[in-house]
């Protein structure tokens, strides 16, 4: 094995050997659907993957051996979970594969279909049953059937079956046919499996017979007998389970830690049909893993939390990105146990308790992780990525994970110099100058400030006096005007926008006159009347100006808004005319 990229230091110092990377393995799967098992009893572990295909079709049960795909079985529905387990004492001791999908568990032996288990149906609403019975005997018409079902749905404790729900959605003309099609069949309510796991029956050995533990959408947990596939125990939860961790033996004592869809984690034990302990998290659990007697939970809020098995919080670690998946890394030969956490920033972090002991960078976001014996290699890490890639890494025999102290030293940032600019010569000079002449500077400044204020006040008064402000200040004719000049010359279009800003009073009897240098400009009409101004509306008034000069000079045109009978203008605007480019060209 040689490193692909010639990055020798990483190759030598790294803890993992890159055994295989297939970026186009086309796998869509989750940690719950990956298992390593010695399927043929030849001492060589195979990788079994339940592939969700496109998410709606092309679901496959794939088996990998070494770097190659060994076999493929078509699955009928989306696989929710996949486990390998020993179902009997027969020799050779080869494990069976159980694939949970929908309400069924398909059991494969030697990669051949062996048995199909169906979840026991749920209780059917008695009233609903009655109503359908009546319908079967044609005692009620579809419309009254709908009415009755509607009323049952609203108050029943037991929900309606799929059939009734679908019936309620139908249009009246389709009801008859639907009833005829289904009325002969018994009503059934099915639920689906949401997670699956195994539990040793009565021995703790590696190769002991195991029961199947399944969680269902109906908020129940079933334990199945491995040989007869009968339900040994049924327990119920307050919410639908999403993943579980099982430990112990069925006949002795066991503990099922279940993460549920309501964001809580429940602990179930033998002889108690209800959860014994409850951990209420502040966000949804994404991954659930048990290490020794503690439970490690990866939360959607980018934290990793440790709890005792009785639900007491031990520690919390903040993660740099959302968790995508989690798995246990267990090396019994070295007595090493840690948690692998796949993150959305394309990294896999390895935690022992709350200490991050190693980080693996991956080419893509990892969606499933599985650690264990693959082929004949004990420490193999198998990951699939979001883009469908398959990564296989082997732990080096020399790799050592040193437990760094949990109390980190001072953060790196402490040694970074503060970004403070150096003092410059100019600054020093200016400071000295100020120090020597501060009084003069202050006085000059105050003087100039006063002058500025005076100039501003004068300009303001002047503007008020000559009505130069863009708004008229008189109370009886509150007007606003602005002017736009369009064109390149020699003729320009002058648009005056006049608006009456009064609340309700119209303004009448206004006129506009222009004042300009007659040697430079000519206007057809330099004086005209303005129509009645309705409050709030904008009145654009156009006029045309001809430039007479070809010297490329321009001047100001003054516009006055006048009131009939008054010589002082209400508003004045000075329009800076642009240079006429048209004439300049001639």
């Amino acid at each position: 094995l040689a490193p692909a990229s010639g990055n020798w230091t990483e190759y030598i110092n790294g803890k993992w050997l890159d055994a295989h990377y297939d970026p186009v393995a086309n796998l869509y799967t989750f940690s719950s659907c990956i298992v390593l098992a010695d399927l043929h009893g030849d001492g060589e572990n195979k990788l079994v993957v339940g592939d969700l295909g496109t998410g709606s079709s092309n679901m496959k049960l794939k088996v990998y051996r070494g770097t190659g795909l060994m076999s493929e079985n078509t699955l009928l529905d989306l696989p929710t979970g996949l486990v390998s387990f020993l179902m009997d004492q027969h020799e050779p001791r080869t494990p069976a594969i159980a694939v949970a999908s929908g309400p069924y568990i398909y059991v494969y032996k030697n990669l051949r279909p062996y048995f199909k288990f169906t979840l026991p149906p749920l209780e059917v609403n008695a009233l609903e049953q009655d109503v359908w019975n009546q319908a079967r005997e044609d005692m009620i018409d579809p419309l009254s059937l709908k009415e009755m079902l509607d009323s049952i749905r609203d108050k029943a404790d037991v929900p309606l079956s799929v059939r009734s729900l679908r019936f309620l959605m139908l249009d009246p003309q389709d009801m008859e046919a639907f009833v005829n099609l289904y009325k002969e069949q018994p009503i059934r309510r099915q639920t689906v499996i949401t997670c699956i796991s195994t539990l040793k029956k009565n021995m703790a050995d590696e190769d002991a017979v195991s029961c199947l533990v399944i969680g269902t959408e109906s908020k129940d947990v079933y334990i199945l007998d491995p040989e007869a596939f009968t339900v040994l125990t049924k327990m119920s939860l307050p919410s639908a389970p999403t993943q579980m961790d099982v430990t112990g033996q069925f006949d002795v004592e066991f503990r099922i830690t279940v993460a549920c869809r309501n964001g809580n984690i429940y602990v179930l034990r033998r002889e108690s049909p209800k959860p014994k302990y409850c951990i209420e998290l502040s966000s949804h659990p994404v991954g659930l893993v048990r290490i020794g007697k503690n439970v490690v939970v990866g939360c959607a809020q980018e934290t990793l939390q440790g709890f005792t098995q009785k639900g007491k919080k031990l520690w919390t670690v903040c993660l740099p990105a959302p968790v995508t998946t989690m798995s246990v890394m267990d090396l019994p030969t070295r007595g090493f146990q840690a948690v692998l956490v796949g993150l959305a920033n394309s990294e896999v972090h390895l935690y022992r308790d709350k200490n991050l002991i190693s980080t693996i960078k991956t080419p893509d976001i990892v969606t499933s992780i599985c650690f264990g014996r693959y082929g004949r290699e004990d420490g193999t890490l198998i990951m699939t990525t979001k883009g469908g890639g398959l990564i296989v890494k082997i732990l080096k025999r020399t790799a050592v994970f040193d437990d760094r102290d949990s109390a980190p030293g001072p953060p790196l940032a402490q040694s970074i110099r503060l970004n403070v600019p150096k003092k410059t010569k100019l600054y020093v000079d200016q400071t000295m100058r100020e120090r020597e002449n501060s009084v003069a500077m202050h006085r000059a400044f105050q003087m100039d400030l006063s002058r500025l204020r005076l100039a501003a006040a004068r300009a303001y008064v002047k503007a008020l006096e000559s009505s130069l402000t863009p708004m008229s200040s008189s109370l009886s004719e509150p007007l606003r005007m602005n002017a736009v000049v369009q064109g390149l010359g020699p003729s320009f279009k002058l648009t005056l926008n006049i608006q009456n800003t009064a609340v309700c009073r119209p303004v009448m009897n206004l006129a506009i006159s222009f004042l300009y240098d007659e040697s430079l400009y000519s206007m057809k009409t330099a004086f005209f009347k303005i129509p009645l101004l309705v409050p709030g509306l904008n009145y654009p008034i156009d006029t045309f100006v001809e430039c007479l000069s070809d010297k490329g000079i321009s001047d100001i045109i003054k516009v006055f808004v006048l009131r009939e009978g008054k010589s002082a203008p209400l508003l004045t605007a000075h329009i800076n005319m642009p240079v006429s480019e048209g004439l300049a060209l001639n």
């Binding site: 078509t74 051949r112 959605m169 689906v192 999403t242 520690w315 959302p322 120090r435």
Partner: protein, 551 residues
């Protein structure tokens, strides 16, 4: 290859046993819920939406969970109104599920319809009363109905939050409850709540920092420092805790340690005005005036309307003898904070140096009128008056000084030695014999800087809730005001404090002749004004020396 017996077809089209083989089996609406949930919690919202769409098509909109998650995603994307509608349709599909109602209420809450949210939460509470989340959210709703005078609302908020805590202890419930107590000005209860919270989750830095700041506000510096230190052990780059702890270190004179902490904060939050203000004042205390000015100017650039930054800038420029610049910063500060006597005093000092005596006098008058406890203001005024021959006015100010000193003596505040010296000289100059009456006992109790007491008082009286950033800034920000009294350790630090000697020395400076002949002791400070840049170094040195002697 063998196949399972019944079908090579999909489950959906699997034929049924029984007589009517035609009837297709109806797909179970919940069959993809697990997949939707799996993608949702992994924040893979795009795939999640695709699956939901498919599932809703298949079930004709009957799948409650698919709609529920769709609504959750919409809400995350900010489309709260749409999410509300979807949650409402979920609640119609399954009225018995309290989750649906809880989410309806949550969306209402986010839309600002708090009263409606409260009603829906109560409804959800009827379905499941043992749910801490309902109680917590009810508490939050009540606490945001901004009606703190209404005792009923506040007590309801407290009641609900306590109920939530009884059902399940969650950090955020503690935080909200503490905040409610603070908003109703019940600091003791808030401290109790945060104490309980810290006990429950001792590693939550937010709780630790909040409690630390609360202690700081209450003047329990030892405890405050302890909690802030704990917060920093768990999260060494916690900005709030660094700023608070750093300013406490500054108060103690540990400038290097404080600077170390600030460096970390400067990496995390490089654009924080209070942080740069404090760094600036650290440099100031280390007599690196140019660095101090550039840091303060950065703080000023980041927060142009913070009067504390302007105050410090004015102070540093006064120290640098850049009186014209100091005037601008101080006058800007007085515009933003017109009720602080000390600001006017500094302004007057600047004006005195700019030889604008009329305005200086006016500014002093304003300062004296606004200030109630700082004898320094009166002392500087008295010096000005005395230097310009107004002995009567000076005497009046002197009596005012005595009054304030006596008042402060009762409250056991210790005084700056330089202040005492000056006052004594003033007394001899004015030929008031009784001056010794108050200087002596004060001397026995060991002098300390007391001047900085004033700003903290104004800070305290502005009465804002602690625990927020604002409060933090208030507490920390301007190194402008820190009361020490924490430990007997004397420090020459304290940006604010340095205002004292500065103001005094400048008060002395302009009229070198008068106090000289009056008291017969020429002030050594004035003699040397070195030309190099950090020029005032000489003066603080003198000051510090005198202080050490006293101790």
């Amino acid at each position: 290859m063998l196949r399972f017996l019944p079908d090579p077809l999909l489950v959906a089209s699997e034929p049924k046993k029984g007589r009517a083989p035609k009837a297709p089996e109806l797909p179970i609406p919940e069959r993809k819920n697990w997949l939707i949930h799996l993608h949702y919690i992994r924040k893979d919202y795009e795939t999640c939406k695709d699956i939901i769409k498919e599932q809703l098509q298949e079930t004709r909109g009957m799948c409650e969970y698919a709609i529920y998650v769709q609504a959750l995603i919409l809400r995350l994307e900010g489309q709260i109104q749409q999410s509300l509608e979807l949650f409402q349709s979920c609640a119609i599909l399954n009225p018995a599920n309290p989750d649906n109602l809880k989410q309806v209420a949550r969306s209402l809450f986010l839309l600002g319809k708090h009263k409606a949210a409260i009603e829906v939460y109560h409804e959800a509470g009827k379905l499941n009363d043992e749910d801490w989340e309902v109680h917590h959210n009810l508490g939050v709703c009540y606490s945001v109905i901004k009606d703190y005078k209404n005792v009923c609302v506040v007590s309801q908020a407290e009641e609900q939050l306590n109920a939530a805590l009884q059902l399940n202890k969650q950090d955020r419930t503690f935080l909200t409850l503490g905040k409610v107590h603070l908003l109703s000005r019940d600091t003791d209860k808030a401290v109790d709540v945060y104490k309980a919270a810290v006990e429950f989750s001792p590693e939550n830095t937010e709780l630790l920092t909040t409690l630390g700041l609360l202690y700081l506000q209450l003047g329990k510096y030892q405890k405050a420092f302890e909690h802030l230190g704990n917060a920093l052990t768990f999260d060494p780059s916690n900005y709030k805790a660094i700023l608070a702890a750093g300013s406490m270190m500054q108060t103690h004179g540990d400038f290097d340690v404080a600077m170390n902490k600030y460096r970390v904060a400067a990496c995390v939050v490089p654009e924080s005005p209070p942080l740069w203000n404090n760094i600036g004042m650290c440099f100031f205390s280390k007599k690196k005036y140019v660095a101090a000015i550039s840091c303060l100017k950065r703080a000023h650039y980041l927060s142009p309307f913070d009067w504390k930054v302007l105050y410090n800038l004015g102070l540093v420029h006064l120290t640098m003898q850049q009186y014209a610049s100091a005037f601008h910063f101080l006058s800007a500060a007085t515009n933003l904070q017109p009720r602080l006597g000390e600001l006017y005093m500094l302004l007057a000092v600047a004006l005195t140096n700019l030889e604008d005596l009329d305005n200086a006098r006016r500014s002093y008058e304003q300062a004296v009128a606004l200030d109630h406890s700082n004898p320094l203001v009166n002392l500087n005024f008295a010096i000005l008056l005395y230097n310009h021959g107004d002995k009567k006015g000076a005497l009046q100010q002197y009596q005012e000084i005595e009054r304030k000193v006596n008042m402060l003596k009762d409250s056991n505040t210790e005084f700056d030695s330089e202040l005492m010296d000056m006052a004594q000289k003033m007394a001899t100059a004015l030929q008031v014999g009784e001056s010794l009456v108050w200087t002596k006992p004060a001397k026995d109790t060991k002098f300390k800087q007391g001047s900085a007491g004033v700003p903290i008082k104004t800070l305290g009286s502005s009465q804002q809730p602690l625990g927020t950033n604002q409060a933090l800034e208030q507490a920390m920000s301007s190194a402008a005001g820190y009361n020490r009294s924490i430990t007997p350790r004397v420090s020459l630090s304290q940006p604010k404090r340095s205002s004292v000697p500065l103001a005094e020395s400048s008060g002395l400076e302009n009229p070198p002749a008068v106090p000289g002949d009056a008291s017969g002791t020429p002030r050594p400070e004035e003699s040397d004004t070195p030309d190099t840049l950090p020029p005032l170094a000489a003066k603080p040195k003198v000051k510090s020396k005198s202080r050490q002697e006293l101790n």
